[in-house]
């Protein structure tokens, strides 16, 4: 997931040092090269941010499930809880376990898959106006 490109020093094109996060080598650049620092740190910050926001998302989706468990939205909100939990777990594991196997990276597409299941269930099971009008629906 983390493939940070080598930032080459302009002129001498010399890489200052090499740091390894997990099994992915990250080429470091000059510390005072602002653009290079942004390139190196922004993905890490985004990863941390999505972990923190993910915890909020799990909490909010649980609250929404509790709030709407008596309605048809329940069918979407339960997979949404699973999806946000998977997403948060994936980001937390990527962040805390630098030498994670590839299976951890696969948790995130799994979260997206659960989300499309949620939308699909809503489309499939939501009461339709035409059915209610005809009298055979809910």
């Amino acid at each position: 997931m983390l493939r940070i490109r080598a930032c080459l020093q302009s002129g001498s094109s010399e890489i200052r040092g090499a740091l390894s996060i997990g099994n992915t080598p990250i080429d470091m650049c000059q510390p005072n090269d602002g653009r290079c620092m942004i390139h190196a740190q922004l993905p890490m910050l985004a990863l941390m941010g999505s972990g923190v926001v993910g915890v909020a998302a799990v909490g909010l989706s649980l609250l929404a499930y509790l709030r709407f468990r008596h309605t048809t939205y329940r069918r979407m909100l339960l997979p949404l809880v699973v999806s946000t939990a998977l997403f948060t777990a994936a980001h937390g594991l990527v962040l805390l376990w630098p030498t994670h196997p590839l299976a951890i990276d696969a948790l995130e597409p799994l979260a997206f898959t659960v989300l499309i299941i949620a939308v699909g269930r809503l489309v499939q099971l939501h009461p339709r106006i035409s059915e209610i009008r005809d009298g055979d629906g809910v």
Binding site: M1, L2, R3, I4, R5, H39, L42, P43, M44, A46, L47, G49, S50, V53, G54, A56, A57, L60, S61, L63, A64, L66, R67, F68, T71, Y73, L80, T84, F87, H91, L102, D105, A106, E108, P109, F112, T113, L115, I116, V119, G120, L122, V123, H126, P127, R128, I129, S130
Partner: protein, 99 residues
């Protein structure tokens, strides 16, 4: 390589989510409780797919930024849903979402 394939898979799934949300919102056949909830999630998924494809082409290291967009849109949609439909029978709701 496999990670790139996962990103492409997420793109395809994201397009599916966006089309499902568009169908729910605009087929006029569904009683949608809170339109803004679905709209925010649909827009967020669309933005995630676009930013993922752009980042995959031009800056593969920054892929996690698009994940941040995705989870922020989910949080925004859920917050809008909970704020839009308050319940006063549950004590936790009054504590967390007091007006």
């Amino acid at each position: 390589m496999i990670v790139d394939a996962m990103v492409l898979y997420q793109g395809v799934v994201g397009i599916g989510v966006v089309s499902g949300v568009l169908f729910l919102l605009y087929s006029d056949d569904f009683v949608v409780i809170h339109r803004r909830f679905l709209a925010i999630i649909g827009v967020g998924c669309g933005a995630t797919v676009l930013s993922q494809l752009v980042l995959l082409l031009y800056w593969p290291a920054g892929i996690s930024i698009s994940h941040l967009i995705f989870i922020l849109s989910v949080v925004g949609g859920l917050y809008s849903l909970l704020r839009g439909y308050p319940t006063h029978s549950e004590p936790w709701f009054r504590t967390l979402f007091s007006r």
